[in-house]
């Protein structure tokens, strides 16, 4: 029985609801994870009538606020995201009677499914229990009258994700070589705006249009002025938040750029397909849920289709190294962890490390929050076997935590870098980035350059 508390409405379990009226009057605050992609996603929300503000603050106060309101043994992303949201409420920039918080919920067996509850606990402790929290999920958890993900909206979010991945991928391949400072970022920002405007007009959404736009984007990036020798490729994998968010990984990408490397950061699309595919796998492993399996299968195929369009667009410019497809990843991970390993980043994390090795990276940073449970197995737990199978693989696991010092993290990354630079020196001219279709299981590792020490 819904009960009312003044203007606030609650569901039968006492959860504060986000009402239709709130949709009109409230501003939704959302944390940022991937700068480009989340900017576009924010626009999609706005197209559907939500007022959204994305938080981009990065100062130390966020961690302190997080530590104050969240159990300190919880994972670092929760401390950061909740700290950032509460800090924003406290900043005086928002009318706290007209603001709600947006947070994602995956619904799996990892702690991340509980972030939303930790956020509510934190709000209670901060004396802000009147602020509604809205769950963004595809599992049907926590419905709200004033918020729903309609199919057309999900479609736009998915497309925003595709464009976001494409822009990030190309930007990362241009940034280390750009002849005009920030040209790659400016181009990415330009396209972000242009695409959002297109979304507003209902354009750029069909597969055909996406293919055209994506090809335009790739062509634009190909025209950017670039110079200099090929830099060492360094892959970044890990727990989704610390992998992407500069706030979570102490600006890892910038650090790698400053060290003279080209960061290779696999996109969000594979993670999304992975999460959808988990439902299909569940149905196969434990039986049951036939309908779910069909629905998930349809959705998976749709996004895989979009991914193919994106890969083709990158391939249309041979100067760029294309990303692998979800299918490639699935094939690579066989013999390491099972497809049932789905909590957190699950088997995808292992697969991404393998994909990066096959793509010829000199080293990999495996980033995770201190004590990350799924990564004990899929991250740190697989490095040994990867090393056995690919003796010259060069992976460093780095823990991120409020108490871990940046200097320790950077020192470990530097160790990894000095090993791969060695390898590069050993083979005279650096090979050009490999252009796709190189992923074959049988020749695994043999294409790699040996990492040796000077004698």
């Amino acid at each position: 029985m819904p009960r009312s508390d003044g203007a606030l409405k609650y569901d039968r379990d006492g959860r504060l609801l986000f009402t239709r009226r709130m949709k009109r009057e409230y501003t939704l605050l959302m944390p940022q994870m991937l700068p480009i992609t989340f900017t576009m996603m924010k626009k999609v929300f706005e197209l559907y009538g939500y007022k959204v503000d994305m938080l981009t603050s990065t100062h130390r106060g966020i961690v302190d606020t997080g530590l104050k309101y969240v159990h300190n043994d919880t994972c670092y992303p929760a401390i950061l995201v909740i700290g950032q949201l509460l800090e924003a409420l406290d900043s005086g920039n928002y009318d706290t009677d007209k603001v709600a918080l947006l947070i994602t919920q995956t619904g799996g067996g990892c702690r991340a499914s509980n972030y939303i509850h930790l956020l509510r606990k934190a709000l209670r402790r901060a004396g802000a229990r009147h602020i509604p929290v809205v769950s963004v999920n595809l599992s049907g958890l926590e419905r709200n009258p004033g918020f729903s993900l309609s199919l057309p909206m999900i479609r736009r979010l998915a497309i925003a994700m595709i464009y976001g991945d494409l822009l990030m991928w190309l930007r990362n391949q241009c940034k280390p070589y750009e002849t005009t400072a920030d040209a790659a970022d400016i181009l990415a920002a330009h396209w972000t705006d242009a695409l959002v405007a297109m979304f507003g007009r209902g354009r750029g959404l069909s597969k055909k249009e996406i293919a055209l736009r994506a090809a335009d984007i790739a062509a634009d990036f190909a025209r950017l002025g670039r110079a200099g020798p090929q830099k060492t490729l360094i892959g970044v994998v890990g727990e989704i938040y610390v992998k992407y968010a500069p706030l979570g990984n102490n600006g890892l990408e910038d650090f790698l750029l400053a060290e003279g490397c080209e960061p290779v950061v696999p996109g969000l699309t594979d993670f999304m397909i992975f999460k959808i595919n988990n439902r299909v796998v569940d149905a196969e492993l434990y039986r049951g849920g036939a309908l779910k399996k069909v629905v998930a299968g349809v959705f998976q195929r749709y996004i895989e289709g979009l991914q193919r369009v994106m890969i083709d667009a990158v391939k249309s410019q041979p100067v760029f190294r294309p990303m692998g497809s979800f299918r490639d990843l699935r094939r690579l991970v066989r013999g390491y962890v099972g497809y049932g390993n789905k909590m957190g980043e699950g088997w995808l994390l292992t697969a991404e490390m393998l994909e990066l090795i096959h793509a010829g990276v000199g080293g990999i940073v495996c980033a995770q929050p201190f004590g990350c449970l799924p990564n004990h197995v899929a991250g740190k737990g697989m490095i040994r076997k990867i090393k056995d199978d690919y003796p010259h693989s060069n992976i460093v696991a780095v823990d991120y935590d409020p108490g871990a010092t940046r200097i320790n993290q950077e020192n470990r990354i530097k160790l990894m870098l000095s090993n791969c630079k060695d390898g590069r020196d050993a083979t005279a001219p650096s090979p050009q980035p490999e252009t796709g279709d190189k992923i074959t299981v049988s020749t695994a590792g043999r294409e790699l350059r040996p990492a040796t020490l000077p004698r």
Binding site: D13, R60, K68, Y69, H71, N72, D73, G108, G109, R111, S113, N114, I116, H117, K121, A122, R125, A126, G127, L285, Y286, R287, G288, V337, G338, G340, N341, K342, M343, F370, G371, L373, P374, H376, V377, A378, K380, G381, M382, I383, R384, K385, P391, A397, D399, D401, P402, G403, T405, R406, I407, N408, N411, K414, L415, S418, N419, A451, L453, P454
Partner: protein, 989 residues
């Protein structure tokens, strides 16, 4: 190339070497830099001026603190492990591996076909710093520590996860009278175990091994532990010359033409870099002005005991002894609370001697004048002191502290006590302790950390903390634990932070650790209205100030903040009404003799490390025991569901009702097998398999498997699985069966029914990391028992493929297995109900130990069950509490109730709230991420139901001292609550 110079700027020391063109070592320096890394580096290089002045030399910097210097000076930097590796290649070309220990980092480099370089994870930092700290703890220099270690007779098992844990294990051994020689060796052994377990990660450390770095160059005892542990002979253990400078040698070797420059220019660059400092994270100053500080001092001057003329006083006296973990405190009071005598000092690893000295002094000064009517002991060493000196009563330290706080603030409703090792907080409601928060192992030792740190820099603690009072930019050093703080301090030092900023930062970190990790408070209302802050650490104004700042409220700090435990004990002695104390008299003290002999109890599988203390040849006191067996009494046979379950499960091996004809299936007895074994045993025996169960977990088994553990922060139960699997392989089974199970049974009380990610997928980790598993049939299929029909089909396919078992047989076996599992669960419920019923008949209190099924493993809980029952409590587990129906009884959770094991704990907490005679104790494994969610929720449920939340964190640390104090505090609080309830009933009549 001409001269080459390598400068290694580490966390604690600076090393400089100069090599000639032919590679000859012309100059070397190795010195501690005492936080002045840049100055020291410049100074050392200046030292080479006679050699290099006016010439060209190539210079390369390395070392963890070298990065900043390199940036500031423009001199090239190479990573230090990389540098070390190239030095080893050059000087010991046939080395198979190198182990290097430094002040902050430990490294292992494997040579051979595939080069691997490893550095310790963030959690296991501070190797050299740890040895320094431990030496301080024993009140000896590092050199003396080494000498002590060479004279050891036995080595204690000490948690090797990190310095904080090791310290938690060492402290009680000292307090119980362990020999310092043995402790010293055990400290080195802990370093060895940590290095070997944490860094080898599945790669065997064999062949010719080179040992490098300062500690391994200078400490013979440490070398000995390494060579013994790795079973190396003198040919395979290489301790090269200049092993302390290898990274610097490597840096010199890595010099390239481009690095060459006129020496004097380079020197100037380095000298200039010494001056620039840029602090990243700074905080508000503690005090901006002298006036602010004076006002603060005046406010805190009020709470002091009455003045009393100790030299002339005649009459009754009451003595309190607080034998704490790092300090010993004694207070002798007059009946009005005036202090006649007090002592506060380090126990120097030998509390008995310290107390003896004090007592002799007291007898000498006061005999004839003051009649000591009663004496009470408290603290970690309570029992030892009580037995040694004839104290009349022992009192739990929490109660002692409360008693003292009440003296100064009768309406106190919150006490925070920060001592050397522990942080204790109590909430008080209606005159009884209503909530206890004690730090867990991870956040312990903050108080003494400040002390050791001050001493390392050559200051007294008081002097050091005073430095921070007016620091303009205190540095932010984080709050996770002292290992992390230590590393933050190093970073701050590298950035050029002043001693003042670091001092203030440390005081603030100690407080943050207490407020956010122990109390988990986000506002002063979370604590109370009348707060009393005590414990030795609060004597520091900087700590007190940052506490008031952090919580935004004023508190009372008694003038005797450091003596409160002893003062409370003295007051309790007075309350006891004892008229004639049994305390040893002057003569007995003069003839007092004490010997301590370590031994291992053979009474049961716990293998407790006992220390037998003898006093004057006649009286004996045994410590280190978990039950009463070694004391000659019968082992405690109190109602104990944990033991009942364990015995039931252990019996499930062999062929059961089947023939065993299909072969021998090995099942590792750990993790979720503690829940699912009844199912799988029935399943396999029905299919005529012989079921081999790995032995019960033990420390030895853990050690057997520890080399293949890839993640040092995973929980202990998971780490044990490596040993279990190794044992099964040794036994020679036909297959090892350990399925991946993301889903648990759906018991209908939760939103979802997952296992935690570690339980779910650990088999895959084992398969990838234990090479021997590739030689046996390792079966790790994904199974979901929650969906019976699905399981029957999947298992049918799987066992047909693996063993050719017809699907129909598998289906039948599955049916029996489900039935057997149901029987087992019902049996637990029945036995639990019986225990609870019997307890109620006998008027016993009931403790629900809420944890995971595998927490009944004695190696994981370290005999906590015996401890609980020995305290006269009846013990049941969370799965013996009948499920409250989702609709109706159980309330909606404040969390997503996503894991089956947690759902049981929430359910048990609800049930406990409904009964006056029940309490819940939450068992948590260190590193259990899911319990970060569950502990807050359990606390909320229990506190809303008027119960205490008691958490026992268990890990490799095998000492139960902390657990005992928590449990005794819980009992004392229950007594108090019952007494208060009785009073109310009485008042109502």
């Amino acid at each position: 190339m001409g001269f080459t110079v390598g400068i290694d700027i580490g966390s604690t020391t600076v090393k400089t070497v100069v090599l000639s063109e032919s590679g000859e070592l012309l100059f070397r320096a190795y010195e501690r830099h005492f936080s002045r890394a840049r100055e020291k580096a410049a100074q050392q290089l200046r030292g080479a001026r006679g050699l290099l002045g006016g010439r060209e030399a190539a210079v390369v910097i390395t070392g963890s603190a070298g990065l900043g210097v390199s940036k500031a000076s423009g001199i090239r930097f190479v990573q230090e492990v990389y540098a070390t590796a190239s030095a080893v290649r050059r000087y010991v070309p046939d080395a198979d591996a190198a182990v290097e220990l430094g002040g902050e980092d430990a490294k292992i480099i494997f040579f051979g076909d595939s080069l691997e370089e490893r550095m310790n994870g963030s959690c296991a930092g501070g190797t050299g710093a740890f040895i320094d700290q431990m030496a301080t703890l024993l009140n000896v220099g590092v050199g003396e520590l080494d000498e002590l270690a060479l004279r050891c007779e036995r080595v204690y098992p000490i948690a090797s996860r990190c310095g904080v844990f090791a310290k938690s294990d060492i402290q009680p051994i000292l307090n119980q009278g362990g020999r310092r020689e043995d402790v010293a060796a055990s400290i080195f052994q802990a370093v060895v175990d940590q290095t070997v377990a944490g860094l080898t990660q599945g790669r065997e450390l064999t062949g010719k091994i080179v040992f490098l770095g300062g500690p391994l160059t200078y400490l013979k005892g440490l070398r000995m532990r390494f060579t013994e542990t790795l079973k190396l002979d003198s040919e395979h253990a290489v301790f090269p010359d200049d092993a302390d400078c290898f990274a610097a040698l490597g840096a010199a070797a890595l010099c390239e033409r481009g690095d060459a420059a006129p020496f004097d220019d380079t020197l100037e660059l380095l000298e200039r870099s010494a001056d620039c400092a840029a602090l990243a994270d700074t905080l508000e100053p503690l005090f901006n002005t002298r006036e602010e500080y004076d006002a603060f001092r005046a406010r805190h001057g009020a709470a002091a005991p009455p003045v009393c003329d100790a030299e002339r006083y005649e009459g009754a006296g009451y003595l309190g002894i607080d034998a704490g973990s790092t300090t010993t405190k004694l207070v002798l009071i007059s009946p009005d609370g005036g202090i006649l005598y007090d002592h506060y000092g380090p126990n120097m690893g030998d509390p008995v001697s310290v107390v003896l000295e004090c007592l002799r002094e007291i007898r000498a000064r006061f005999d004839g004048r003051v009649d000591i009517k009663a004496c009470a002991a408290t603290g970690y060493g309570e029992d030892l002191v009580k037995n040694a000196f004839g104290a009349d009563l022992g009192i739990v330290e929490t109660m002692a502290h409360y008693r003292a706080a009440r003296y100064f603030e009768p309406d106190v409703d919150f006490i925070i006590d920060i001592g050397g090792q522990d942080v204790k907080c109590f909430k008080i409601r209606r005159g009884a302790i209503d909530g206890i928060m004690l730090n867990e192992a991870c956040s312990s030792g903050c108080g003494s950390f400040v002390e050791t740190f001050a001493r390392a820099l050559g200051y007294g603690t008081a002097e050091f903390t005073r430095l921070g009072l007016f620091a303009r930019e205190p540095v932010d050093l984080g709050s996770r634990c002292t290992v992390f703080m230590n590393s933050s301090v190093k970073q701050a030092q590298k950035e050029g932070a002043s001693i003042e900023s670091i001092s203030a930062g440390l005081s603030i970190s100690v407080v943050k650790n207490a407020v956010y990790k122990v109390i988990r408070a986000s506002s002063p209302e979370d604590m109370g209205v009348k707060l009393v802050a005590q414990g030795g650490t609060f004597l520091n104004d900087a700590v007190l100030r940052s506490f008031e700042r952090e919580i935004g409220a004023f508190v009372t700090r008694p003038a005797i903040a450091g003596l409160m435990g002893a003062y409370g004990a003295a007051l309790a002695a007075m309350d006891s009404g004892t008229e004639r104390s049994a305390l040893l008299d002057a003569e007995a003290l003069a003839n007092f003799e004490h010997t301590a002999r370590p031994t291992t109890c053979g009474g049961c599988t716990n293998k407790c490390a006992l220390i037998i203390n003898t006093f004057g040849g006649a009286r004996k006191y045994i410590s280190g025991n978990r039950c009463s067996k070694p004391l000659g009494a019968e082992p405690s046979s109190g109602p104990n569901l944990m033991r009942y379950k364990l015995e039931k499960l252990r019996a499930m091996r062999g062929t059961g009702a089947g023939t065993g004809a299909r072969g021998k299936v090995g099942i590792p007895f750990g993790m979720n097998m503690y829940e699912d074994l009844p199912f799988w045993f029935e399943f396999f025996t029905s299919l005529n398999f012989d079921v081999a169960l790995s032995p019960e977990s033990s420390r030895a088994m853990y050690v057997k498997g520890q080399r293949t553990i890839p993640s040092d922060t995973v929980c202990y139960p998971a780490k044990l699985m490596h040993g279990h699997v190794e044992c099964l392989i040794d036994e020679g089974v036909d297959a090892v069966f350990y399925p991946c199970m993301p889903y648990n049974f759906d018991e209908g009380v939760s939103d979802n029914h997952y296992n935690c990610p570690v339980v779910a997928y650990y088999p895959e980790l084992l398969q990838a990391n234990i090479k021997r598993l590739r030689d046996v049939k390792f079966l790790a299929p994904y199974f979901g028992l929650h969906n019976r029909r699905g399981f029957e089909r999947m298992a049918g396919e799987f066992f047909y493929e693996s063993f050719g078992v017809p699907a129909r047989e598998t289906r039948l076996a599955a049916g029996r297995a489900y039935a057997a599992y149901g029987r087992y669960k019902r049996d637990i419920l029945r036995e639990g109900a019986e225990i609870m019923e019997r307890a109620r008949e006998q008027g016993k209190r009931i403790i629900v130990a809420a944890g995971r099924p595998y927490h009944i493993d004695p190696e994981i809980n370290h005999g906590i069950d015996a401890l609980i029952t020995s305290l006269g409590l009846a013990l049941v587990t969370e799965d013996a509490i009948p499920r409250l129906p989702r609709r109706g009884g159980a309330r909606k959770r404040g969390v997503l109730n996503q894991w089956t094991y947690h759902a049981r704990m929430y359910n048990a907490a609800d049930a406990v709230c409904a009964r006056a005679d029940m309490q819940l104790v939450h068992l948590v494994s260190f590193g259990c991420g899911t319990d970060a969610i569950a502990s807050d929720e359990l606390r909320e449920i229990l506190e809303a139901g008027g119960k205490l939340y008691t958490q026992l964190k268990i890990d490799e640390v095998s000492n139960l001292g902390a657990a005992r104090i928590r449990l005794r505090s819980l009992i004392a609080a229950m007594d108090d609550a019952d007494a208060a309830a009785g009073d109310e009933r009485y008042a109502a009549v």
